[in-house]
Amino acid sequence: MKIEFILNGKPTKVEAPEGMNLLNLLREQLGLTGTKCGCDTGDCGVCAILLDKRLVYSCLVPVSQLEGHQVITIEGMQTPDGRLSDLQESFLRHGAVQCGYCIPSMILAGEALLLRNPNPAREEIREGISSVLCRCTGYQQIINAIEEAALIRQAKLKNQPEKDMERAND
């Protein structure tokens, strides 16, 4: 079937089998391998992407439901000139990355959370990323990274200097 949707900000036309899921469309057909497969049964969350700014498991989204919608993957997180997003920077600063396999969807989970709740409490961050499994990190540095990115975003809105917002205790 033919589908038109917005992928990482670009109008995209594809021809895909009707039964295909978004995960396979991204990886097999569009070559976007930043989105990973961890179980293919909707349990682990490492295939999560943003669909209309909400975090969803791409393995559970049939391509037939994509028409006209907006999809953002990890490849769409950098600025057009290639700079890292604030969350990507923050993940690096906090050493929140170990094997890295869940990290693309963790960053998108953080993004989805901050879009709907720009000023989350730590417990809200914990809940907000609970749909994505990580086996390496114990989540703490990921939570620190998202918390700091939120503070920096808030500071930018209020025109405060960024530097003071960085937290060092990992």
Binding site: K36, I107, L133, Q140
Partner: protein, 776 residues
């Protein structure tokens, strides 16, 4: 400790940029022209003879280009270490559900699946051994081949003999005798196992694998495929987590993909599904540990006797070594007058067991740390106070009879978590009468963990360093990084020793053609062994540069001193690092060096159970605070406080990450990760059945390192990674005891255990297994 320039400072993970941008390519992310997809036919029965196997019908399936069985390898595909009882594809019989029998390569995943379904196979079901207590019965069905070691289903046995505990135990004021149970634990790395094999023009093979040790993989491929060693190259792709789990299964998958690539002369990629990963790969050994522990009434531990019964499953894999590590830690980090340990590992049809983070020690310490707590309770002693009275300190004799001469900071770790957790106040608060359904408790456990391989084998690594024409320095190591941060550690050590910015160092991916064989990346040995090798390499490179600078300054090399990037003569003339490098080049000196480091030699006598098991240890303690809901049986984690005595910390964020991750894995082991078998049928097939901790299951973790410069470590560093997982589960069990007044002496402490005393689903999962393996 002196402050260093790079080591111990905040730094970024070396490969973080590729990982946060999604550009890091794992095995499953490679798509090559003409690439074929492999799929493996696996046994749906726990124990059976293969009566008939005709693979040829697979070739009639459209899109299938090749099919292989054990006969397509040398010696029926037999491999394995330390016991050579494994097969790339099963020969004559299958020993567990998921045992691989044949493999196909096809143009698509769908064709490959249809291909394995077309294979004609007939099994004759054999009686199953699922209960470890009956594996050694005289009439038990025999699982291994006749030439396997031991007798019948005995995989291996171990012993520890330090003094004679029996007469001492007879005279102890208090003696505790209890049995503790441990189910299997699945690694549950988010990336499943896989390999991509590419045939080369010269008849050889290049394999990208997410394996534990590329050199072992290469040597297995050489043996199984009959290729000369120079024609097999193994490159480690990014690895999505391992925790000990991508050892044998990685070599097995690589051999399957490799044979198919040679047969089709096209690239072949094999990536396991999650259910295949759960069923076909190995996991942490289930164990039953019996402990007899005696103390005097004033609280001095006197003697211990420990018996371990270990479930090896269908193959030996690393169980012989895991059970040894369990044996030499089984009485814990305490002073005793005498200790005996007797261990037996047995073959069963319960999947197969092997290496997993901690390598037997989480079970060993998981048992003794509950037993010590029980004894403290009997003696009406505070659990931390009791441990402080008995725990190892510098110069003490360990449970294996060897003197621990290194600086031991175990007591400091216990005091640290006592203070940080507000232990004294909470302990007495929760001891007072609690009412209602929500009960709180706080518990402690401590650990010691032998560093590196110990008595398991030769323990060395080699790092190479080369100053390139562009002034950058390339580093190779034969050791691998699955996310634990060892690559960053090596770069920091090289930068510190060479006095140059870390940005000038680039590290190559592990590759058998560029790196040098360094033994396996296991046993948390990278920082100490690989780190020392890196330091030796950097020192050798420095020697060359000092020589060149001395020649330019007309002085002796030992008269030169360094500051950062600069070399100074005795007259304070200076040359920059790059200037000295150019001079060395002009002088014709080689700017490529190898640095090898090997652990000091010591001996453990496996026959007498005596000797020195490890050159040194790491130590630590953890406190866990819980809230148990007596109505639902659920345990909520309120906090974990951890302290680790591991020498100097080189890469602080990486070290903390190891601690947070280890604690989270320990929480899963304690509370939710339930992997058991019923008549050889696995009771968990995917993340739906097997619950690893999510972010909202993990409480705040307070992370502390008691640092000191260890004599033998690079810049004073010891090990991380494995030790972090060991104490969490027993600390949680001890906290649950304070909350509920009950001990179940089993893990995981699921709601069913808390409410009903046991949790044995005993489900017939045969259809789910068939479906999960693509057979239905």
């Amino acid at each position: 400790m002196t402050e260093l320039k790079y080591i111990g400072k905040r730094s970024r993970p070396e490969d973080g940029l590729e990982k946060v941008t999604g550009k890091a390519r794992y095995v499953g992310d490679y798509y090559l022209p003409e690439m074929l997809y492999a799929k493996v036919l696996r046994s749906p029965l726990p124990h059976a003879r293969i009566v008939k196997l005709d693979a040829s019908p697979a070739l009639q399936v459209p899109g299938v280009l090749a099919v292989i069985t054990a006969e397509d390898f040398i010696n029926h595909s037999n491999f394995g270490w330390p016991v050579k009882d494994a097969y790339a594809l099963a020969w004559k019989k299958v020993r567990y559900i998921g045992d691989p029998v044949a493999a196909v390569a096809a143009v698509s995943e769908e064709s490959a699946r249809a291909g394995i379904q077309a294979i004609l196979i007939q099994y004759e079901a054999l009686p199953v051994v699922s209960d470890i207590h009956h594996a050694l019965d005289p009439d038990a069905p025999i699982i291994p081949d006749t030439d396997a070691p031991g007798t019948g289903n005995l995989t291996n046995s171990h012993l520890v003999r330090f003094g004679d505990p029996d007469p001492i135990l007879e005279n102890c004021d208090v003696v505790l005798e209890e049995t503790y149970f441990f189910k299997h634990q699945e690694h549950a790395y988010l990336e499943t196992e896989g390999a991509l094999a590419i045939p080369e023009q010269d008849g050889g093979l290049t394999v990208y694998a997410n394996d534990q040790s590329p050199f072992i993989n290469r040597d297995n491929l050489v043996t199984l495929l009959g290729l000369p060693v120079e024609k097999v190259r193994v490159i480690q792709a990014y690895v999505g987590g391992s925790f000990g789990g991508k050892d044998d299964i990685g070599y097995q998958s690589s051999a399957q993909a490799g044979a198919l690539a040679l047969k089709t002369q096209r690239p072949v990629r094999l990536v396991l599904t999650r259910t295949e990963s759960f069923l076909a790969s190995y996991r942490r050994e289930a164990m039953e540990i019996k402990i007899k522990l005696g103390a005097s009434k004033d609280g001095e531990l006197k003697a211990a006797k420990v018996n371990l019964l270990v479930d090896s499953g269908g193959y030996a894999s690393m169980t012989p070594l895991c059970s040894w590590r369990a044996s030499v830690h089984a009485a814990g980090a305490y002073r005793y007058q005498a200790v005996h340990v007797d261990t037996k590992s047995v073959y069963t049809n319960n999947g197969y067991s092997g290496a997993m983070r901690g390598f037997g020690n989480p079970q060993a310490l998981g048992a003794i740390e509950q037993a010590v707590d029980e004894l403290a309770y009997q003696l009406k002693r505070d659990p931390i106070d009791f441990r402080l009275q008995n725990c190892l300190t510098t110069g003490d004799v360990a449970m294996t009879g060897n003197t621990v001469n290194q600086t031991v900071n175990l007591a400091e770790c216990l005091r640290m978590v006592q203070k940080r957790s507000d232990w004294d106040r909470k302990r007495s608060l929760y001891a007072s009468n609690q009412t209602g359904n929500l009960r709180r408790g706080i518990g402690v456990a401590c650990y010691f963990h032998g560093s590196s391989l110990g008595g398991e084998g030769a323990d060395y690594a080699t790092t190479t360093l080369k100053i390139e024409e562009d002034g950058l320095i390339t580093l190779t190591s034969g050791l691998t990084d699955y996310g634990q941060g060892s690559r960053t550690v090596f770069m920091l050590i090289a930068a510190e020793e060479l006095g140059i910015d870390i940005a000038r160092i680039r590290i190559m991916r592990p590759d058998t053609q560029t790196g040098i064989e360094s033994g396996p990346t296991v046993a948390s040995r990278s920082t100490m062994v690989g780190g020392n090798a890196t330091r030796v390499a950097a020192q050798r490179l420095n020697q060359v540069l000092y020589w060149a600078a001395a020649k330019a300054f007309h002085c002796q090399p030992n008269q030169i001193h360094r500051q950062g990037d600069l070399f100074y003569s005795p007259n304070e003339e200076s040359l920059k690092f790059d200037e000295v490098t150019s001079l060395a080049r002009q002088m014709g000196l080689s700017l490529y060096v190898q640095g090898k480091w090997q652990m000091p030699i010591f001996t453990w006598n496996f026959d007498t159970g005596t000797g020195v098991p490890y050159h040194c240890y790491t130590f630590g303690a953890q406190v866990a605070e819980v809230e148990v809901n007596l109505e639902s049986g659920r345990t909520r984690m309120l906090g974990v406080w951890a302290a680790h005595d591991g020498g100097r910390i080189i890469f602080p964020q990486g070290a903390s990450g190891q601690m947070y991750g280890g604690v989270a894995m320990g929480i899963g082991y304690a509370l939710t990760e339930h992997f058991s078998y019923h008549q050889g049928y696995p009771q968990a097939l995917n993340f739906h059945d097997y619950h690893i901790p999510r972010a909202n299951d993990v409480p705040p973790i307070d992370c502390n390192f008691i640092q000191c410069d260890h004599v033998d470590g690079p810049f004073g560093a010891l090990n991380l990674a494995e030790p972090m997982v060991i104490s969490t589960a027993p600390a949680i069990a001890n906290a649950i005891f304070q909350a509920t007044g009950k001990r179940w002496r089993t893990f995981p402490l699921t709601p069913q255990v808390i409410l009903k005393g046991s949790d044995n689903p005993d489900l017939d999962t045969s259809n789910a297994c068939k479906k999960g393996l693509g057979l239905a």
